[in-house]
Amino acid sequence: MPDLLSVRNLKIEATSYPPGEPPKTVTLVENVSFDVQKGKVLGLIGESGAGKSTIGLSALAYGRGGASITGGQVLINGKDILALDRNGIRTIRGCKVCYVAQSAAAAFNPAHRLGEQVIEASLRHKIMSREDAEKRALYLFRVLGLPNPETFGQRYPHQVSGGQLQRAMTAMALCPNPELIVFDEPTTALDVTTQIDVLAAIKHAIEETHTAALYITHDLAVVAQISDDIMVLRHGKTVEYGTTKQIIEAPNEDYTRALVSVRQTKREEAHDQSNTLLKIEHISAGYANGFKVLHDVSMHLPKGQTLAIVGESGSGKSTLARVITGLLPPSEGKITFDGKELPKALRSRTKEELRRVQMIYQMADTAMNPRQTVRDIIGRPISFYYGLHGAKKTERVKQLLDQIEMGDRFLDRYPAELSGGQKQRVAIARALAAKPELILCDEPTSALDPLVAEGILNLLLKLQEETAVSYVFITHDIAIVRAIADSVAVMHRGKLVRFGPKSKVLSPPFDDYTDLLLKSVPEMEIGWLEKVLTTRRMESAGN
């Protein structure tokens, strides 16, 4: 009996149109082969651009954005789906193979109710009657632990949370009883505490329905919980392919070893509390429509140190950064910077006060003008704050490029010509150009691949040693906090849950929320998910 899915020597190419040059063909995936048996899960792992999603979509004979499969075979139950015509392919998609997208929020049609969308494929392919499909949807909503499963299907996508949407997307994929599901980073956009629920729900649903799956992610710790086999990819080629146990415990390749052992950065916590740079006292803030986001938040940061603010989305950590910068004036409380109270609103701050606090954003892409060169982007604060022009300005830009380990050959590049990590480095140089005393880093590494993120963190630490700059580092990633913070503030629903030196905050006794947060961070250990779920169940039984 043939394997459910066999991919043989897959080759995928795309045509790119670089400006001012003739179109050229880029190879996205080359010579990739693997098999998935019925009821088994294969994890595809690698950094962005490794071709994971492209390979996943090839199981549906689909090429995203001009990519086309130019070689090899994709066999489902021994039949090559690449040889099928349009209508033949339609009988595979949404019927035998289903797809779960990374961003369920974007993948659901905002104009239709969730229930209709979940059962649509089953009805259109005449797999079951409307009544049966609705029954099955209800069953799946229950299995996936969605709230009020009876009425959940009546709601529109914007009426439910991101975690619920991701589970609804899984329900949509499971509904037609497919033989294979392609999960494309289904938990990447979620908070850790939500991720663990979705992971458990997916795992449970796969076991319950005996569906095979391709699980695509860049997080090895996540894939270790769910898959039977793992394939490590890089630049569209296979690096290593083996059982989960072998990849996690005895990787053969250097690249895999680097992935398994990422986050070596560790820093001793500074204890000097004498020289306070930033002091936040009883800050409350909200938006014009009366929605209050921050409730009575206080914390402080000594000079030359790093304060990490941790929390899930919606916890108010980015709002706090907006309050510190003055973009959002607080309704109560005050901010003291270097012994002097800062005016609440951005407009009433002096140029000097503005210069001393700079910011780095999560998306370096959107934070830079795509029509300006690196020289202009970094040069702007230099001429704005220091009035330097011409050769002197260029000199300073070159010096900054050196500091971020990039060099002057990047001077006249546009953001589009830089990689994700390079863009974030340029953003850091732009912040540094003002010679600030405090840099607010709003999740600067969360959009980057682990190895690249590691490089950015090391750079930030090196710059701190050289210039004694202080950081407020906003993140949802506990591992980063462990690596770089001196003091830690845990936020939840706009309130400060816990604040203090890293060693105290991250060691027991914990409050309930910090405990949940710490326990939800996936660990690179097979069986971790079951362990956590069992303890949870025991705890709730004990209560």
């Binding site: 979509l57 549906l60 689909y62 995203r64 392919i89 339609r90 009988t91 595979i92 998609r93 949404g94 019927c95 289903c98 797809y99 997208a101 961003s103 974007a106 993948a107 659901f108 049609n109 905002p110 104009a111 239709h112 649509e120 494929a121 259109r124 392919h125 709601r155 529109y156 914007h158 009426q159 938006y287 014009a288 429509n289 009366g290």
Partner: protein, 369 residues
């Protein structure tokens, strides 16, 4: 798309239409963002209402905005007509215009009263549907306009029921065959139609269908005594001209709006569900593309009512446009003012309707959390 409306939205209520062109035609997706701003304008009751019933609040806001705009437009029409050079009395009397005779006519028409007083009298009459008497014919303006307006709307209505479905259908077709032959043919033909001046299109149609083939009637004049069928055949050519003129704009907007949506993740989801191409366009893309399309349709409908002057003249059709042109030549101010106000009202009303429909088409506003 044009999410620009919100910030300036509420401030407009007082009628600051200095440019005269700032009709509420943007704000396709203005809905969500307008909420907090509206809350600031008036007290706590309005703010609470906005948060609880965002949809009703937005619609009330649009209605208020339209009334304010109409008021501002009435001021501008009155002021503009007042500022026009030339004078009814001199034109009317021609060679025999002695200062005494001119003075008498001016007194007769009440032109010696102060400007504000005349404006208030005119506006209070207009609100009740009474636009005064025509200076030239001494007949009631409302009565005459009533018939003409009916004719214009008749023409516009038939042009609309042909062009709107045709434009949307062609737009969808163009999407399905995008960048292939059918798409290109639709594009070229509709572009050619919009590029030719409407009077030229009109004369071409007359030349072929009325003169050479003899299948259509010309002139397209309609009378009270005509039956419905006769009327329809009479307006066939002007309707065809209008359809050709407005079709391309709506078709291209439909195509662009749907194509814009076609690259979204949820259309990919639909494709990966193995749905058919037409179902994807009609069920998954179109509902999310209605807002911009509705706006273009409203603009074109407004054009059908307001901008048909040339077509009416070419086809000798007794509609509003011709009536207004005649009145302008003899400086018959009550008629000009009445026509101007009615045109403005149509324009504002259609754009308001488009705004409200676009708001209703947004599920986030229809079904708040």
């Amino acid at each position: 798309m044009a999410a620009l409306g919100p910030e300036s939205g509420p401030a407009l209520t007082t009628g600051t239409v200095a440019g005269g062109e700032s009709l509420p035609q943007t704000g396709t997706l203005s809905g969500t963002a307008a909420l907090p701003a509206a809350g600031k304008v008036t007290g706590t009751f309005w703010r609470r209402f906005t948060l609880r019933r965002p949809l009703a609040a937005l619609i009330i806001q649009r209605l208020g905005l339209s009334v304010g705009l109409l008021f501002a437009v009435s001021l501008m029409i009155f002021g503009g007509v007042e500022a026009l050079p030339g004078d009814f009395a001199t034109t009317y009397l021609g060679q025999s215009a002695t200062p005494q005779a001119v003075e008498n006519i001016r007194k007769d028409l009440g032109l010696d009263r102060p400007l504000t007083e005349r404006y208030v009298t005119w506006l209070s009459g207009a609100v009740k549907g009474d636009f005064g008497k025509s200076w030239a014919s001494k007949n009631s303006v409302s009565e005459q306009i009533g018939k003409r307006l009916g004719n214009s709307l008749f023409l516009a209505f038939f042009a609309a029921i042909v062009s709107v479905p045709l434009a949307v259908a062609l737009g969808m077709l163009a999407v399905q065959y995008r960048n292939r032959l059918p798409d290109k043919i639709i594009n070229v033909v509709s572009l050619a139609a919009i590029s030719l001046p409407e009077f030229f299109v009109g004369y071409l149609l007359i030349l072929f269908f009325a003169v050479q083939l003899g299948v259509a009637t010309f002139p397209a004049t309609v009378y009270d005594s005509m039956g419905f069928g006769e009327r329809l055949s009479a307006i066939a050519l002007p309707v065809a001209t209008l359809v050709l003129v407005v079709l391309a704009h709506m078709m291209r907007m439909t195509r662009a709006a749907i194509l814009n949506v076609m690259s979204s993740a949820y259309v990919e989801t639909a494709e990966l569900k193995g749905l058919g191409a037409f179902r994807i366009i009609a069920k998954h893309a179109a509902p999310n593309a209605v807002a911009p399309v509705i706006n273009v349709i409203a603009l074109n409908l407004a054009y059908l009512v307001v901008g048909v002057v040339v077509v009416e003249v070419v086809f000798v059709y007794p509609g509003m446009g011709q009536y207004m042109v005649d009145a302008v030549t003899v400086r018959d101010m009550p008629v000009v003012q009445a026509c101007g106000l009615i045109f403005a009202a149509f324009y504002i009303f259609l754009n308001m309707a488009a705004d409200i429909l676009a708001i209703l088409a947004n599920p986030r506003l229809r079904h708040p959390r």
